[in-house]
Each structure stands twice: as C-alpha cells, then as structure tokens.
Assembly symmetry: C2
Homo-oligomer: 414 residues x 2
C-alpha cells in the first residue's frame, strides 16, 4: 500500500502511473509463488484534467474563490472560462420542471447526501444522479454548465470528482461540469438566497484523449479438486487523479493480494482455483471488468464465486451477498466464524462494480463491507491518501476476505 500510494500515486486509467501500478502489482503477485500471473489487455479511456481549475462567485463586486474540480469525462470551459448566472436545483426532476428557464445559465445541483442513513453508500446512491447525469440533463435545456455539490457528508473544502456521462447527447451539446466542495456549495447557496443574480465563474481545461492500451492483472492458485471452478477476489487498480486513491481502491487491491498471500503463506491448497484480479478502469468506464468477463466467456470459464473490496480500508463489519435465498441461508450458517471478530453483518446486496460484469449462471458475488461512516470524507477527493489508512483496520479486512475465500472453497454453496 505504501508503495502504491506514496511511490506511484494517483492511477487514473490511461496514465503512466496506472501502467506503473500494473507492473508493480504483477511483480508483487509473482513474488508470492502463485501458479500463474498474467496480464489481460484492455483498451481504456484517457481523460486528463489539464490545469488546476479555478472558480469564483461574483456577488456585486465581491469575488469569492471556491474550490471546484472538473468531473471525469467533462469537457473544458472556453479558454477564458465560463461566466453565467446560476439556478440552484435539488434534483433532476426540479431541473425538468424549470425546463428552458435554465437556458444560458449554470445549473447548480445542491441536494446533499442524507446524513440519516447509517449505510452511507445508500446516501451516495441517493445523490449521485446529480453528478452522473446532471450535465446531460441540463444541456438538453440549453444550460451552459453545471456545478454539483460534492458527494461528501462532511462540510469541508475538498471538491470530490467522479465520473459523469453525456449519454447519447451529440458532442456539440456537451457542457462543462464540475464538483464544488460542500463548504463551497453552502456558500453559493446562501449567496444565491441573498442575491439570485450573482454570477458564477469557472475555468477548466480537461479533455478526453484517444483510448490507451492498459491491463488487468491476474494471479492464480490452481485448484486441487476442481481447477475448472474459479473463485475471484479483487479490487480495482485505477484511481481518480486528485490523490493516491488509498481507500478507493488501493485498499481493495492490497487486501485482495494479501488475502491470497495469507492462504499461500498457510500453505493452503484450495480445492477450487483462486484468482486474484486487479481490475483496470473501474472509475471511468468499467472496461477492465467488461474485458475480464469477455475473456471468461471466450475461455468458457466457470466462475462460482467473486469477492470484491471497493468500499475503503476501514474496520470490516461484514459482507453483502448477491445470491438466492437458499444460498444466503447457507452463508448465514457461517456467521459464527465471524461473530467473535464483530464482522458478522451479512446482508443481501451489491457485490462490487468490477465483478458486476460477471454473468456465470450460478455465481455468488460478495462485497466486503467496512465501516462506512468516514468513506465519503475521502472518496474521489484530494485527501484520499495513505495517511487516511489505518494499517490494523486494513489488515483486518484482508484477513476477513481470506476467511470467506477459505469457507467458500471448503464448504461451497450447496
């Protein structure tokens, strides 16, 4: 983790750092004495942020600088920046009600994450449409740009990037879109309530370059009884560009490697094949996951289980499982193994976005669920760095994953 975060750093798809991370983790896996370590070629998008963005609120003659960052996939503003009056909305529905009234304006999406959900990913899910589709929807009505409140439960000065999509809009309709820090969003909203005619200025020079050849990194321990049955454990190698991506998803990468290292170190010979997969391009395209599935189908592979860690390196609390009720009942019978360590919160739910591509008929998918209270303090922001990781919490997650792999391998789902 230290090398990945501090020596390599941010690893956005298509960058030199992403390539370094492929090389580094491949070598690390090779040093574990696995049966096979290899790369899978995959073409990935290559979006670059360009110069650091600038933005300010111009309220009468008072200019207040606010922290923003371009959203992944966004186009640039004009070279001299973009200045317009602002309409604040809380949702895409509200935008649709306003319709043509937003023409020539900047739309400011300002629905905060709901602090009342204990499961902060639920609050993220309830907000992220503003970031992902806000620009596309506002462009339809002739808005000049969109500014989105960062997906962050905390009030601070970090803008949080993340992917956005123009969908099937024609290219000439693309408008620039950026995230604003939560403190910035609060300030902008308060300022608008006093002066609805203030103007907002922002400048960004991001662009999408041609796709780049990149790789998933795969390591394998061959099964002794059913080598044809494959169990995947993984996270994603790419990260956003604002920080070194220690929680998202450096944690998942090193935990997946560590889970396999633990089993190897115990000289455990799995019945089924265990495959650690470090996926490329989860953040802005999901090309690595899609390619992995494409090759699995081509090779007629039989995936029985997939486990992903992509929710940060915090104290593990349990797992979410994608499976039928009978299987879930079987999995729940393993709870006593996890209870002494307080990792026995087993729920049905999303496994992970990389393993989400897998379509094998009877596959069970699982996601490690760490404590989620602090995750969105760091997610996609400049503070998702090595110092935000606690070694002990990270290791507990890896050990938890190794345990689940062992149980699935030993006991199966039937």
């Amino acid at each position: 983790m230290e090398y990945l975060s501090n020596d390599i750093g941010s690893r956005l798809s298509g960058t030199e750092n992403a390539a370094k991370a492929v090389e580094y983790t491949k070598n690390q896996l090779s040093s574990l004495g696995l049966d096979k370590v290899y790369l899978q070629e995959v073409m990935v998008p290559h979006w670059v942020r360009g110069e650091k963005e600038t933005a300010y609120i111009l309220d009468n003659k008072t200019k207040t600088v606010v922290p923003i960052c371009a959203l992944g996939g966004s186009v640039a503003t004009p070279k001299t920046g973009l200045s317009a009056t602002v309409i604040e909305v809380k949702s895409i529905e509200e935008l649709n009600t306003l319709g043509e009234k937003v023409k020539g304006k900047i739309v400011f999406f300002n629905r905060p994450m709901d602090p009342l959900n204990i499961e902060t990913f639920k609050s993220y899910g309830g907000c992220v449409d503003q970031r992902y589709s806000g620009a596309k929807e506002a462009a339809k009505f002739g808005a000049l740009g969109t500014i989105v409140r960062s997906m962050n439960l905390r009030l601070d000065d970090f803008p949080h990037t993340g992917t956005q999509s123009y969908g099937d809009l024609p290219k000439e309709k693309y408008i620039p879109t950026a995230a604003i820090s939560t403190n910035g969003a609060e300030l902008l909203s308060k300022s608008l309530s006093v002066n609805p005619n203030l103007t907002f200025y922002f400048k960004q020079s991001c662009e999408t370059l041609p796709d780049v050849l990149s790789h998933n990194v795969v390591g394998e321990i061959k099964g002794t009884e059913h080598p044809e049955n494959i169990m995947v454990v993984g996270g994603h190698l790419d990260s956003w560009d604002l920080a070194d991506g220690s929680h998202d998803d450096g944690a998942g990468v090193v935990q997946s490697m560590e889970a396999v290292r633990i089993l190897k170190n115990l000289n455990y010979k799995p019945k089924n094949t265990i495959r650690v997969v470090l996926f490329m391009n989860e953040e802005n395209g999901g090309k690595g996951g899609a390619k992995y599935e494409e090759l699995a189908q081509q090779n007629k592979e039989n995936h029985i289980f997939a486990l992903e860690s992509d929710s940060g390196g915090f104290t593990p609390r349990g797992f979410s499982f994608e499976c039928d009720d009978t299987t879930f009942a079987k999995i729940n019978s393993w709870k006593p193994f996890f209870e002494p360590y307080l990792i026995h919160s087993f729920v049905k739910g999303h496994g992970g976005s990389d393993i989400g591509h897998l379509t094998a008929k009877n596959i069970v998918k699982a996601g490690l669920k760490p404590d989620s209270q602090r995750y969105f303090d760091y997610h996609h922001a400049a503070n998702d760095t090595f110092d935000a990781i606690n070694k002990r919490e990270l290791e507990l997650g890896a050990a938890t994953m190794a345990t689940l792999l062992y149980l699935v391998d030993q006991k199966g789902f039937n």
Copy 2:
C-alpha cells in the same frame, strides 16, 4: 468538543485548564435549560511533568535519542539524569525471577499489546500491569528506574503516558519511570540483543504537588414519575497532559452532554431523574468518581442506572453491561432498536471506571463500546487531538447513548 480541545486543551487534574473545563462545561449545561446544574467539590492530586523529558541509548559511542515521557505519578530522575545498563523483561513474573540481578540497573518492560484480540481493551488489560506496577516491583529489587513500552498496537514515535503507582513502598524507595514509544522500544530491544552492555540515559523533572480543590460537574433533568430514581450518564473531564484528550475523554464529555441535549431538545420528560455527570480525575486517582459516590450515599440517593463513555469517539458498535443474567436478557430484547444502525453488539462487561465507584444495590452499569481498533493509536499520547475525531462518528455515539437512556427510562429493567 472544538472548544474543549482547541481552546482549553489538555486538562490534567489540578491544572488551570481542568478548572477552565469545569467552568466551561458548567456554563454549557446551564444553557441547555436543565432543572439543576451544580458542582461537587473534590480534592485531586496535582502531578506536573516539568520540562520535556530526554532519553538516549548509548551504544559504544553511538548516542541515539529516543522518545519517552514520564508516567503519571512518577518521581523525577536526578537533575543530571539517570544512566545505567538495561535489563529487558517481558513481565513482572520475569522480573521476580531475576530478583536482585536488576539492582543498579534500569528495567525495561517490553511486552507488547497482543494484536490478535479484536477487542483492543483486552490487549491493554493484558499489558498495563507493566506500566502501573512495574516501577514498584522493580524498586523492590533495587532497580534505579524503569522504562515501559507504550501501550500502543502501532509502531510509531509517540510515547504514551498513563498512571502508575508505587503502592505502599516507602517514599525513599520511589524510582523514576517512563514510557518509551513503540519504535523506541523496538530499537532498544534490538540494540540490547547486539550489545547487552549498552547504557540508557533519561532525565525527567516531574513532581507531585499538594492536592488541589477541583470539581465534578453535574446537570439534572428531574424525573416526572420517580424523581428519586437516578440515571447517570457521563464521562471524565480530566485528560492527560500530552494532548487535548479528544478521545480520552473529551468524546465522553461532549457525548454525555449531547445525549441529554437530544432528550431535552425533543422535549422529552423522563420518568426518572437523568443526571449528566462530568467526573474529575479519572486518569490519576479516580477522586471524582469516589466523591460522587460518597455524596450519593450521604444523600441516600437511589441510582438505578449509569452509562459511561470513555472508550473514544469512534463509530459506536454497542454497549457492555454490568448486570445479572435476567436483566441482561431484558436488555437484549431491545437489540432490534439498535440493529438497523449496527450498534447491537451487547456484551456483559465493564461499564466504566468513574461509574465503577457506584455501589447502589440494583444499579445497572453500561459502557458505550465504540470501534476499538484505533483507540490505542491515540490513548494518553500527544496525538490524541481534535483532528483525530470524526464528527459523524462522535455524533452517532451520542445518539446511541440517548437511545439507551430513553429505553431504560421508558421500560426499566423489570
């Protein structure tokens, strides 16, 4: 919390800062519109660290400075410091086996916290005898001083202080004792394995001054049906001197106040009297807790419940309860109220050291149990500061405490 930590700062018993914290929290409680806010006088010890300690390993001619801090209650070294050869032991039993062999030497207690316990307080309990009684035991055999590995699961450069006791040793037998950082302990141990004749030097100028008048801070909401039944919620106001004590126990102080504020804010009229108590001198004497109990007995008060938060401001996981099995079964029937928030780890165990003084016949005691993985990274060390606190996690703890107070008040234990 911000005021307590950043404006007041460290609050060791007997200091001006401790008095400021009494004043500040009394005023804060008064602003909540409670029925009664008052102070309880209590005499507390007044130990002062004096100048910053220095220490080094002298190995042949190489001098390596290592981070140490005097343990609370320790005497000073001679003014020019203390220099001696070192005997490393892993336990007081090992010390007893060595006996007079430690005469004229520095005894180095180096048994680390056991990383395998998920409940880190258990590992603390398994180590802290070295800190609390190490000097007393080594002095019996004529050792000149003791150095104790910090109670910390992490390898870092922070020495962790904490209380120690010379027991019934005559004063002239007292020897100076200090904690060394975990990295320092590792270095000293490795150096000793190469050169058992190296010398260790340390200098500290701490002293115990005369006792000082201080206070517990108490606020009350009178019960509507059974005002004679008292439910306590509290934490301790004092902290060690090396930092502002945000986790230990600023968190417990503000959570206790917040729990009462929440109930007050909801305009909840408790059946029983709810009393928030901010205890003085938990860290090095427990005089506040003892005084509270003394007055409770004098006033023939009937305490039915006491809840303490003194395990850090991290994500709450549940509670520990001191009660009989029938009561514990009743309390467990409330688990469904906590389960949606993943705070339903209910165990039998220690409530808290301040409420530990309470002796009412049928009292039930409870301790908030936050996630404990990071607690000993900060405990009694210079990094237990405001920036180590996460607001959301802290608030979740307070809300959890308010919920338990409500349930006990509404449902009782019978």
